[in-house]
Amino acid sequence: MTVASGVGYTLIALGPGFSLFFLSIVSKPLLILTLLASTLVWLASLVALAIVWRGFLPLGSSDWICLPLLASSVALQEFLRVHFWRTFKKVESSLNGVAVRISKPPLRPSEKIEIAIALGFGHGLAHSIMFCLSLLTPAFGPGTFYLRSCPQMPFFLVISLISLGFLLIHTFSMVIFFKGYEDHNSGLRFFVPAMHAVASSLTLVNLVQNGCVIGTPLVMLCAALTLFVCGKSLWQKGD
């Protein structure tokens, strides 16, 4: 729908990402590296899933195929997330070891949170790349597109909003998850995969006629909830 709307959609999907990158990440080389590595790993996980599911193409016209697709994706990613925590602990201890040897202070809590955000941002970015960015390229042309099941919202708007939602969910989920391990709070550890599963399932509401009007705002609601839980868990540390 012209370059203006193409840029608009991209900013809706990635604007917060740009802000986060330029305000928090770009000034610290460690975080840039962390972000890059995380994006690559999460992208690899999605590509691996795609390779496996490729074998089942064509998927057929039934919508029910989405359930195992989503379930396997969420399961694999959550399994991977635990390994992120373990790798983070190893990196933290070796970084702290180096710090001790050169008489510098160990990682501060705020720095650990920043690393967690970078790791989560990598996850959100991988999701955006895989599920949103290439789909937005036709939006820069003069035409628009509406799905038959969603005449209320342009297709590209739905994609951008959902991508924004998951960017926020993934970025801050990592913080919640790490906090859960640090503070031995199993509630937080359980919240993250549950939220991932719920938000993913809510995207299925879009399959229903006119469902996008309900499904998309609900995903945004999930994102808001994730932000709230993250903020609350960090705030409590101060007590």
């Binding site: 203006a4 840029v7 608009g8 991209t10 802000s19 042309g141 035409g143 628009t144 342009p154």
Partner: protein, 633 residues
């Protein structure tokens, strides 16, 4: 189901198949259609069933052919846009639905009432040879026009219905026309300026000349037919009755004569000339006469003084009860024309047909290649065979509907038999020659009709594929532009399918000797390779068949450019020649897509920026808040 981003793009932007009307230029100005400027035209799609717009503002109109062109000046978009500027302002572009014979507008055609009147060798230029003509064909339209295919018609009707259901509210389906012409971009609006600028090419092609024996300086009977027509849409020019029926008669007559005794050693030399570009000011016949007079590199073997008699076959596909009319220019017919008429009458009798001399009330000969000959010299005259007497019988002259259904094969077979037998008598110089040996093959006539004038089998019919591999499945009879340098031996890629087919057919039927196989050229004298690109290998034959360039005698090709020559003092036809050219273009595309209300695009950009700014502000605020919080811990 969409499975990839390219799938999505294809679903969003639908390219529509159709035949465009393009910009043509003459010495006087422009005609035809094009985008008015350098930009694409985008307008909402609206289907009209009568000439009333449902909204204000310019729209891309989808309409049935009968609303596009009909006899009623007020009820046809063509005429209305020419005479009513406020109506024309609302037509951003026109999409004409495919018109099959069932709904063809009755009793009218788009050409003028006296086509090519300025070339007539008599003073009455207002005589109505074509009374059903509405004279909208060679006018200038300032908007793009497309003729749709049957599938596109169905598709666009559905899309237009979507717009209607929405009551013309956004998001609307719009049609995007890219019919931007080079001549518009370079500001050259006549043939003279555009040829100088190089933004156009002259119309023209190749005629074909053939004879049963090698051509020498002997008294000659020249037999003519034309092979090109005009239409509103350059890629949809059938021209079945006018003039292809004449061409088919000539080809079938040559075929019949090839089996007659002694045709290769006839007393009088018979030269067949299939003229191209006639519809655009008799380009083929005039260029032939020019080359005949001035030599100019293509030695024909004879000159103008040897042309003793001329027989032209005009439109012969709709004769009523096999009655044909012989048109003669000079009212006091010379001995040679009388001889032609007598042979025609004898031949007609032998096949239970009838030849009548045309009415003396006619001002002269109807529009025909014969006009070029008559204008050239008083001694050049002959007989023109037509299906009509005082005015055209062909209602669909130069119209989309002049197709195979507009023909009666028996009429063509009759004309062909008359012509073949008359030629035989004249060639043998024997008025009592046995005519039964000259028999026209009526299934050949039917084959030629189905190859040249129907889409199925079209040019993939065995008759054609035996000689050439056609580049297009359906032959089109618009002469097109002269590609490359005109030459008596053009390469195959510069020739269209019809031209190549006619050359091969004539070379094959007039051959005097077979001389082995070939794939491109033959080495022997007077040998040509027939069927080189057809199925199977080509054969070398001894035959006098060659191409003759057909383009305006006012033009000369010199080192890659076309020069407009000044008008020669003697030549009347040069002075009135419009010198038709066709503009260059980068691409001709028509697509349809859905477009949002323009303000929405700005709002989305604003929304994106707001989200970005809001998130930046939140990040900064949150960071400040948490820093305070953590420090106070």
């Amino acid at each position: 189901a969409l499975e990839s981003v390219p799938d999505l793009e294809r679903a969003m932007y639908r390219v529509i198949q159709g035949s465009p009307c393009v910009r043509l230029l003459s010495m006087q100005g422009e005609s035809g259609c094009a985008n008015p400027g350098r930009d694409k035209i985008v307008a909402p799609l609206q289907r009209l069933t009568k000439l009333e717009f449902k909204t204000k503002g310019a729209v891309a109109v989808l309409l049935p052919y009968s609303l596009f062109h009909s006899r009623n000046k007020f009820l046809s978009v063509c005429s209305r846009t020419l005479h009513d500027p406020s109506f024309a302002a609302q037509v951003a572009g026109a999409l004409v639905e495919f018109a099959d014979n069932a709904n063809r507008s009755v009793n009218s055609n788009p050409d003028s009432k006296f086509p090519l009147a300025e070339f007539a060798p008599y003073s009455n230029k207002t005589y109505q040879w074509n009374p059903l003509g509405t004279d909208v064909l060679q006018k200038r339209y300032n908007f793009p026009v497309y003729l749709l295919s049957p599938e596109s018609t169905r598709g666009l009707r559905e899309i237009a219905a979507e717009n209607e259901a929405r009551n013309a509210k956004y998001p609307l389906q719009v049609a995007e026309f890219d019919v931007v012409m080079q001549t518009t971009k370079s500001g050259t609006h006549t043939s003279e300026s555009c040829l100088k600028e190089g933004s156009c090419l002259p119309l023209g092609g190749y005629s074909i000349l053939s004879s049963f024996s090698s051509i020498t300086s002997k008294p000659t009977l020249l037999v003519l037919a034309a092979m090109d027509s005009i239409s509103f849409f350059r890629d949809f020019t059938p021209g079945a009755d006018s003039p292809l029926s004449g061409l088919i008669s000539l080809l079938a007559a040559v075929d019949a004569l090839s089996k007659a005794d002694g045709i290769h050693n006839a007393t009088k030399q018979v030269v067949f000339l299939v003229c191209n570009g006639e519809a655009w000011g008799y380009l083929g016949s005039r260029r032939f006469l020019f080359e005949l007079e001035y030599g100019g590199g293509s030695a024909f073997g004879f000159n103008m003084s040897h042309i003793d008699q001329i027989l032209e076959i005009g439109s012969v596909g709709q004769a009523v009860e096999k009655t044909f009319y012989g048109h003669v220019q000079d009212k006091h017919a010379s001995a040679s024309t009388k001889e032609i008429v007598a042979s025609l009458k004898r031949s007609a009798e032998s096949v239970n047909a009838q030849i009548t001399t045309a009415s003396s009330e006619n001002p002269g000969i109807p529009p025909s290649s014969m006009m070029s000959f008559v204008q050239k010299s008083d001694s050049l005259t002959g007989v023109l065979l037509e299906e009509f007497d005082t005015s055209f019988k062909n209602k669909f002259y130069h119209s989309l509907f002049d197709n195979a259904d507009n023909l009666n094969p028996e009429s063509i077979v009759a004309a062909s038999s008359i012509v073949a037998r008359a030629i035989y008598q004249l060639a043998m110089g024997d008025s009592s020659a046995k005519l039964d040996s000259v028999a026209v093959n009526s299934s050949l006539v039917k084959d030629l009709i189905s190859c040249l004038l129907t889409p199925d089998p079209g040019m993939n019919c065995p008759l054609v594929t035996g000689f050439i591999t056609p580049a297009q499945p359906v032959s089109n009879h618009y002469v097109g532009v002269v590609t490359g340098a005109p030459s008596p031996t053009p390469s195959d890629d510069l020739l269209d399918d019809t031209t190549r087919f006619i050359w091969n057919f004539l070379a094959d039927r007039t051959r005097r000797l077979d001389a082995g196989e070939c794939s491109k050229d033959c080495k022997g004298q007077d040998q040509v390779c027939v069927g080189a690109t057809g199925q199977g290998r080509g054969s070398c034959v001894v035959s006098t068949t060659r191409y003759v360039p057909a383009y305006s005698t006012r033009l000369r090709y010199k080192s890659g450019n076309w020069e407009l020559l000044p008008v020669g003092s003697g030549d009347f036809m040069d002075s009135i020649d419009p010198v038709w050219t066709e503009s260059f273009w980068k691409s001709l595309t028509l697509r349809v897509y859905q477009q949002e209300r323009p303000s929405l695009n700005g709002m989305l950009l604003l929304a994106g920026c707001s989200v970005t700014v809001a998130s930046a502000v939140s990040i900064l605020a949150t960071r400040a808040l948490f820093r305070k919080r953590l420090k106070s811990a």
